[in-house]
């Protein structure tokens, strides 16, 4: 009896002990957190990531651009100072022939992969062919490529059937990184015509890289972190940091908090609302820089329920009914611009298009003219995402209120991106809201995606009551522009921008500025239209 009694007491006491330990742990951890100041060899970046693969020829996403740029050097690169200028990358020389159908690259003899083997023409040929044949999301970049020749040990010649003056800019895109073909082939990669089914290397690329970039892949945990380590054999200026880790931090408030506390060095998606809060933090530097990203709404008469939009006056009315300035103020705290056509501010061709303006009276008059004096009801399915600081859900609710004031009832259905893609691939939705970020620095991509051309983007499928719609002027304009360079080409793109604006199928809403927030001792945090942030260029102040 007695021993038993003691054992019972002991249990009670151990409970108390446990509680005490818990308290100790609580206090202990705050001490632990304070002592983690380490010399900065390891850079940590907070980002909400959209990675679904690390295969450079299969990926197609914003985070892919960052990671691929760090892992795989390209033949040419976009100048950090001026996005319209191209600089030598793996290719020390690059030229186009007179009619822009043949491009010749002379490889830099110093260029090596991370395993110290030289970058050879066969690797370039293999990489481009793999991207084209794998039939992935970025394969469209090489549409029209007819053949690749490797006449000698340092030269690559890429041939196109039709003129493609955009090609040099495309070669600088992050998706055109050059892969070490011997290493990748060993692990199941294929560049053959049947690569889309024969290639089995996607899994291998989740934990390995085979490039010539400043970093190599150390490890990747989906939805958690990508860790890169410095490439010991990098053929150019070696990167400053030993490791760079991209951490999945989904919401902008956590990113802000972690940046303020020094847990991370760079926060990539700080909301504009938080900028003021950071101004008082001396250890953090912030900048709002112009971007080439934008959100837009698409008006699609050919989608189910889109009939009222068939009249261009109705589309014009919707355009006039939106209070753009208020939306820029509300959604991105004023850190954004208006945009006139699908070709964004700063891209060739965007210069002369008028910006949209808010005019309710005109909108009402147009609606009455079109036979809808009391408006109508129309639905909108869109992905519920925050794109470059713009919460599409809020944007659509603001537009819903604007349209209500001219009698149009907008019914909103936010869905996940994959469901949205399915709707767009099926019966469509009369009005949708999405974003666009450039893949490279040439304006052709906007005409290819937003122009009413055969094999264009989804908007062309629903652009009129008849469904698939072709605007021949845009088809011809694009063909002309792709055969031109210089001022002539600029004029062609200006005309194309106006044509697309006059279709009134695409209404750009906000061209948000990009908020760069990082620890004050980090340098080189810049934004490039082809590749997002170049991790290799990041450094430390001395």
């Amino acid at each position: 009896m007695h021993t038993k009694q003691r054992s019972t007491r002991f249990k009670w006491r151990s409970l108390v002990a446990m509680a005490a330990t818990a308290t100790l742990l609580l206090t202990g951890c705050s001490v632990g957190a304070a002592t983690t100041a380490v010399a900065k060899h390891d850079l940590v970046i907070a980002r909400a990531m959209d990675l679904t693969t690390l295969d450079p020829d299969r990926g197609y996403c914003d985070t892919c651009q960052i990671v691929f740029t760090a892992l795989y050097d390209r033949l040419v690169i976009v100048s950090p100072e001026d996005s319209k200028t191209l600089q030598p990358g793996l290719a020390s020389t690059f030229t186009a022939n007179a009619d822009n159908t043949q491009f010749t690259f002379g490889l830099d003899p110093a260029a090596t992969f991370s395993d110290a083997s030289p970058v050879e023409p066969k690797d370039v040929k293999w990489s481009l062919e793999r991207l084209a044949n794998i039939k992935g999301s970025a394969s469209y970049l090489l549409a029209g490529m007819s053949s690749i020749d490797t006449p000698d040990a340092k030269t690559v010649v890429v041939n196109f059937a039709a003129p493609n003056s955009a090609f040099l800019a495309i070669v600088a895109a992050s998706y055109l990184g050059i892969v070490n073909s011997d290493v990748a082939s060993e692990h199941g990669a294929s560049a053959a015509a049947d690569a889309s089914t024969a290639d089995t290397a996607e899994d291998w690329f989740l934990s390995n890289s085979a490039g010539s970039g400043p970093y190599i892949l150390d490890s990747y945990t989906a939805n958690s972190a990508v860790k890169l380590t410095a490439n010991p054999n990098y053929w150019r200026t070696k990167p400053t940091f030993d490791t760079v880790t991209l951490k999945e931090v989904t919401d902008s408030s956590s990113q802000l908090q972690q940046l303020q506390q020094g847990d991370v060095d760079i926060a990539m998606q700080i909301s504009p609302d938080a900028l003021d809060q950071l101004k008082n933090t001396p250890t953090v530097t912030t900048a709002a820089v112009d971007s080439f990203n934008y959100t837009y709404i698409a008006l699609m008469p050919g989608a189910e329920g889109g009939a009222p939009l068939a009249d261009v006056r109705v589309r014009e009315a919707i355009k006039d009914a939106i209070d753009y300035d208020n939306i820029v103020k509300t959604l991105v705290a004023g850190y954004g611009k208006l945009q006139g056509s699908p070709i964004p501010n700063g891209f060739e061709g965007s210069e002369k298009v008028a910006l949209p303006s808010y005019d309710v009276t005109k909108a009402k008059a147009l609606l009455a003219e079109a036979g809808y004096p009391d408006g109508f009801t129309i639905s909108s399915t869109y992905p519920k995402i925050v794109a470059y600081g713009v919460d599409l859900d809020l944007q659509m609710q603001a537009i819903q209120q604007n349209l209500a004031s001219v009698g149009i009832t907008l019914e909103l259905t936010p869905v996940d991106f994959s469901q949205w893609a399915d709707v767009i691939g099926g019966k469509g939705t009369p009005i949708t809201a999405v974003y666009f970020a450039p893949d490279h620095t040439d304006s052709s991509q906007y005409v290819q995606y937003f122009g009413l051309i055969p094999n264009g983007g989804y908007v062309a499928n629903f652009a009129s009551l008849a469904g698939k719609t072709v605007n021949q002027a845009e088809v011809d304009g694009l063909t002309t522009a792709l055969a031109q360079t210089g001022a002539e080409r600029t004029a062609s793109y200006q005309a194309l921008a106006q044509l697309m604006a006059d279709d009134v199928n695409i209404l750009p809403i906000v061209n948000p500025q990009l908020i760069m927030a990082h620890a004050s001792d980090i340098t080189g945090v810049t934004y490039s239209p082809c590749c997002n942030v170049d991790l290799g260029a990041l450094g430390l102040t001395k």
Partner: protein
């Protein structure tokens, strides 16, 4: 009181009263529960006269902190959080109530049939119930809501699919135990028909535990509706549903008032319902079987 005078149960209310003394129905926590619940019902019915602003219109600067003009501040679109919170009562409470009533009806009927007839009917119904219950509730609800598309009505369907097996089990257990009792046996002896015995003699006797569980579950279902909305599978914008408002608040972490009001509203109503349910359970001396 609304909670116990649900239409399908009205006939049995008198029996219920007999079983607990009046004081057991009027304990302080229960009175608190009645008052809070009454407040929210009044708010839901009369919100257009009470709320100071239109819940879906921009009525002020965005992200204003609470003040005299906007008691609970404004959200990211400049809408009045106080008005939106009041309007929220129009969604959470009725939807959860309907979900519970439908689940109770479907579950009870299936459970009673399973328990009374036994054999393969019982086996089929209860295996389906078992399997449904084997899915973590939120996963199943998410899958169903995702397949039906977002929207409060679809969320309601998802919840019924998740919730009916609880009542089926409960009712089956009750029916099995009551079936043995004398008066049922005598009813069988005098030749009453199966369904008549089931619905005249057995089911009414089984209602008490079902009722108590339904009351307790009402709170959980309110939370589940909000959870689905929080995950983007419930209310559509600009509906001022509480779960969806908390999602908005989560996006504006440093403006805590946006999420505070709807969360607190939900807390009070669920707490009130739990107080009532807890009191009912004590008053009626029901051993709860919950999952």
């Amino acid at each position: 009181m609304t909670a116990i005078s649900l239409p399908s149960l009205a006939g049995n209310a008198r029996d219920l009263w007999k079983r607990g003394s009046a004081s057991a129905w009027l304990r302080p926590p229960m009175i608190f529960g009645y008052v809070v619940l009454a407040f929210w019902i009044v708010a839901a019915v009369g919100v257009q006269w009470i709320a100071p602003y239109d819940p879906i219109k921009q009525v002020g600067e965005r992200l204003l902190a609470p003040s005299g003009t906007h008691w609970f501040g404004t959200d990211a679109l400049g809408r009045d959080v106080f008005s939106r919170t009041l309007y929220g009562a129009r969604y959470s409470l009725p939807i959860a109530a309907v979900a519970i009533v439908v689940s109770v009806t479907i579950g009870s009927v299936l459970g009673a049939v399973a328990g009374y007839f036994g054999g393969w009917v019982d086996a089929v119904i209860m295996r389906i119930a078992d399997m449904t219950m084997a899915f973590p509730a939120i996963l199943l609800a998410m899958a169903v809501a995702a397949s039906l598309g977002p929207g409060l009505n679809n969320a309601l369907i998802a919840i019924v699919i998740v919730w009916w097996p609880i009542y089926a089990r409960l009712m089956r257990g009750q029916v099995l135990s009551i079936k043995q009792r004398e008066h049922v046996e005598s009813a069988v002896a005098i030749g009453a028909s199966g369904p008549r015995i089931l619905f005249r003699h057995i089911v009414p006797q089984s209602l008490t535990p079902i009722l108590v569980n339904a009351t307790m579950d009402l709170g959980q279902v309110i939370l589940l509706v909000a959870s689905l909305s929080f995950l983007g599978l419930g209310a559509l914008p600009p509906t001022p549903e509480w779960g969806a408002m908390i999602t908005d608040g989560a996006k504006n972490f440093y403006q805590p008032w946006i999420a505070a009001a709807p969360g607190f509203a939900m807390l009070t109503i669920v707490l009130a319902i739990n107080f009532i349910g807890d009191g009912l359970r004590d008053a009626l001396d029901v051993k709860a079987t919950r999952r």
